[in-house]
């Protein structure tokens, strides 16, 4: 599933970020890297944009861009012991696992 398909209150874990080069980078720089816990805090009354809680900070993005962020339901705490599962980018498995192990509270 992707971020645009989530409901208010759901907690998800980022699996992969797709999208146009610089915007994808911007999302990741704002903390949306694979393995990150994201809480869907709200959706604007007119249906767009979405308000997310990422790394303790607010982040709102439009639905069109949220569609590029694939997520899995639930927190990633368990993924800590399953190296490689959160990242679908080949070649980065160990790296993602390292990031995860440290981000999981």
């Amino acid at each position: 599933m992707n971020l645009a398909q989530t409901r208010i209150g759901q907690i998800v874990t980022v699996a992969h970020v797709a999208g146009e080069g610089s915007f994808r980078r911007r999302l990741m720089e704002l903390g949306l890297v694979p393995g990150t816990r994201v809480e869907v805090v709200g959706i604007a009354p007119l249906g767009d944009p979405l308000e997310l809680l990422v790394r303790g900070s607010s982040l709102s993005i439009r639905r069109a861009e949220a569609e590029g962020v694939s997520v899995s339901l639930g927190e990633a705490a368990s993924a800590e012991r399953k190296p490689g599962s959160p990242s679908r980018t080949p070649g980065n498995d160990t790296l993602a696992a390292r990031g995860l192990a440290r981000s999981a509270p």
């Binding site: 911007r26 990741m28 890297v33 694979p34 944009p49 303790g56 607010s58 993005i61 861009e65 980065n92």
Partner: protein, 746 residues
């Protein structure tokens, strides 16, 4: 990682100017919403100098800070760098932060960067800090908003140990920790702190970095760490279609090549995830407990449940916006009237005490009138920026953008464009100044270009005159007043055209690249009144300084246009002499009347304005205005209206020889109604009135607007474009209304 203090720094500094040592330069840099500007105001005592960054119209604010602790007082210059989440950039605008930090692109080279971080949001804020440290620049961290995390305060000492640079806990809003910060700044200027932070990236990325850093220009390689950091920057910022400045073609080619050769590797992910992994690993040591959902966010989310509610949220939103609009529209009125009264009193005073002369008229009509034309904008500018200050400071402005983004997006605009657009209903000048609350040049420009289409308050006197004079006070269906309906229709019409124009211009003239929205809803906070007052003052002062002189000069030019040649005094300029000769000497006024507008001579003597250059210009353009249903008198009124739309009314009054006419003056209305063509039919029909109102709705009859756009864009191109497109739009629309109406038999 240990704190490394290098004593020898001279080798890397540019040679100081001869004589006195230059004032040290300190940058304040940080993510948006970290209280950076509040800290700047606290440090510099609000004595900000406002300019622009070299080559780009992004505001650069600087001020002086006097360091008093430890030794003799010394003055340092502080610059408030625009908020940024990251140094990587794809546009010239985003590149400012990096250029300011490294002293590139004619920016002065800073001696120290004070990174302002939100103590409650280190997880995100430290990303920028790691980028700065990698660049090998001198850094001091201000751990700001420490008052908001009293229940879970981060450990400044631990952070300092991690980063290898001094970290000071501050609360800029209440002024705590500032003495310590100033002491840290003073110490860092003497003994520059140098972090030993080095992030190890995955091996393949490290190899890419080596390749790229070998290709960097010499001035990018002041130290090995900086070359490496800039290689990282280049690798993640340069794209085939970026809009960066100062990137050598060879470097661009290489970066694109390296990215292409990465194949299935994801360079952005390798880089960003590694930085976050480092930060995440450190967080448990920085905070007493790790919170995924901090308390201050929960509090503001509870407020948002009401303020962003589909029903109550919108009701409150509409209420607040109406309140703001009401204050701009009505509450500013007494102040505006007072200013107008003062200018007319001033002019009267001069007129009663100085004998009649051209010079006296220049002073009363040109200079005093011009100053009045400038000052009259102040009440609305001050009120609008008071509202904006409160909205921004409280955190509600981000909610306005959040609520309205869906609608603004459809027009190709940013959610933040809503407040400037709404302000356009009061006056385009403050509304254009308000576009500075938007980050991106493209959004600002597009908003600026369409805001003058909104029905501003200066159009109302014109509409009132036309409707009052040409439309009967009858009712439709027995109860709907025609006059009121027309007024509402004009508002709807202008709003519709504004929205369509935004849609079209956003896809043509200001195409640019549409950048996806990224919005942060900051926690709600008590607005700071001192900060708001200082912003109001800054905006007003900037308007007076930058746009004031231009408006004054244009007022004088327009006065001259409508006053020369003078009917009484004969001066000896060849042009005037020729004009008099041409008119004949016996009854020049009657004669010109008889030549060009025979029907208009019936009831009155001609006016001075008619013989002026402006009057002649009005006659000269009559053939162009005819298809719209206007005669030369309306033409003269249009020329006068360029000073400000409502001047149309008094100029038309002068054409008819009625002094001090306003929109409710009965004689003026009667004159308009009684005006006859050659064949005896009414010169001004309701259809012509409608055409004229449409013309006023769409044309750019406002030199102040053009002047402010010129000041905000720093180029003559955009004001000219604005004048061109609006005049064309007005002409075509009026033409269609008038000719279409005639075809339909009106």
């Amino acid at each position: 990682m240990t704190q490394q203090a290098l004593t020898s720094v001279s080798a890397r500094e540019p040679a100081p100017a001869q004589g006195a040592p230059r004032t040290p330069l300190v940058l304040l840099i940080g993510n948006p919403n970290t209280g950076k500007t509040t800290l700047f105001n606290r440090l510099t005592g609000q004595n900000a100098r406002i300019g622009n960054y070299p080559g780009i119209t992004v505001e650069r604010r600087s001020g002086d800070l006097t360091l008093r602790a430890d030794g003799p007082p010394r003055v340092v210059e502080v610059v408030d760098v625009p908020g940024a989440y990251s140094l990587s950039a794809r546009s010239a605008e985003e590149q400012i932060a990096l250029s300011a930090v490294l002293g590139w692109a004619e920016n002065p080279r800073p001696d120290l960067c004070v990174v302002v971080v939100d103590a409650g949001q280190l997880a995100r804020n430290l990303y920028l800090v790691t980028q700065l440290l990698e660049l090998d620049v001198q850094v001091v961290v201000a751990l700001n908003m420490i008052d908001e995390v009293r229940d879970n305060p981060p450990n400044a000492g631990e952070l300092s140990r991690f980063l290898g640079v001094p970290c000071v806990a501050t609360d800029a809003r209440h002024g705590t920790g500032l003495a310590e910060l100033e002491r840290a700044i003073g110490a860092a200027l003497v003994l520059p702190p140098r972090s030993a932070l080095r992030i190890d990236y995955p091996k393949p990325l490290e190899r890419d970095l080596e390749r790229v850093s070998a290709a960097l220009p010499n001035e990018w390689r002041e130290s090995a760490p900086r070359a490496r950091a800039l290689a990282l920057w280049a690798l993640t910022s340069i794209e085939s279609d970026d809009e960066l400045h100062g990137v050598a073609p060879a470097l661009r080619t290489l970066c694109l090549e390296v990215r292409a050769q990465a194949g299935t590797r994801d360079i952005d992910h390798e880089l960003i995830a590694t930085r976050y992994a480092l930060i995440d690993a450190e967080l448990p040591k920085l905070y007493p407990r790790l919170e995924t959902h901090p308390k201050k966010r929960k509090t503001s989310e509870r407020v948002d449940r009401v303020l962003l509610h589909p029903v109550f949220g919108f009701a409150i939103f509409i209420g607040l916006m109406l309140l703001m609009f009401q204050s701009l529209f009505s509450w500013s009125d007494p102040a505006i009237r007072l200013i107008e009264a003062c200018t007319s009193q001033g002019a009267d005073f001069v007129e009663t005490h100085v004998p009649q002369s051209i010079l006296r008229d220049l002073v009363t009509r040109g200079v005093i009138g011009g100053v009045g034309n400038v000052v009259v904008f102040l009440p609305q500018i001050l009120l609008l920026f008071f509202c904006i200050g409160i909205l921004e400071d409280s955190g509600y402005m981000a909610r306005v953008a959040f609520l309205m983004d869906r609608i603004m997006k459809a027009l190709g605009l940013h959610g933040r464009a809503f407040v400037p657009m709404l302000s356009g209903f009061a006056c385009a000048v403050p509304a254009i100044l308000a576009t500075r609350t938007m980050e991106r040049q493209r959004d600002r420009l597009l908003t600026m270009l369409v805001v003058p289409l909104m029905t501003c308050s200066a159009r109302l006197p014109v509409y009132t005159l036309i409707i009052g004079a040409l439309f009967p006070p009858s009712r439709v269906f027995g109860w709907l007043p025609v006059q009121g309906l027309l007024m509402i229709a004009m508002y709807l019409f202008s709003t519709l055209i504004t929205l369509i124009s935004a849609f079209v211009l956003g896809r043509t003239a200001v195409k640019g690249r549409r950048i996806p929205l990224i919005l942060e809803l900051p926690p709600y906070r008590m607005p700071s009144f001192t900060g708001t007052l200082s912003m109001m003052w800054r905006r007003a002062a900037m308007f007076l300084k930058e746009a004031g002189s231009g408006i004054l000069i244009f007022t004088i030019l327009l006065w001259a246009l409508l006053s020369f040649p003078r009917p009484v005094h004969v001066d000896h300029s060849p042009l005037t002499a020729a004009a008099i000769h041409q008119q004949g000497s016996l009854a020049p006024k009657q004669q010109i009347q008889a030549n060009s507008a025979p029907a208009a001579t019936s009831v009155r003597g001609p006016s001075a304005i008619e013989q002026s250059y402006g009057g002649r210009l009005g006659k000269a353009i009559e053939p162009i205005l005819r298809p719209l249903g206007f005669d030369w008198k309306i033409g003269v009124g249009l020329i006068g209206a360029f000073a400000a739309r409502e001047v149309f009314v008094s100029t038309l009054g002068l054409v008819y020889g009625i002094g001090d006419a306003d929109e409710n003056t009965t004689p003026l209305r009667d004159k308009i109604r009684q005006e006859r063509k050659v064949d005896g039919s009414a010169a001004y029909s309701p259809l012509m009135g409608l055409s004229l109102m449409v013309f006023f709705a769409l044309s750019c009859q406002c030199m102040s607007t053009l002047m402010v756009v010129y000041r905000e864009t720093r180029t003559i191109r955009w004001p000219l474009f604005m004048f061109g497109y609006m005049t064309t739009l007005a002409y075509v629309a009026s033409f269609l209304v008038y000719q279409g109406g005639r075809l339909l038999g009106f």
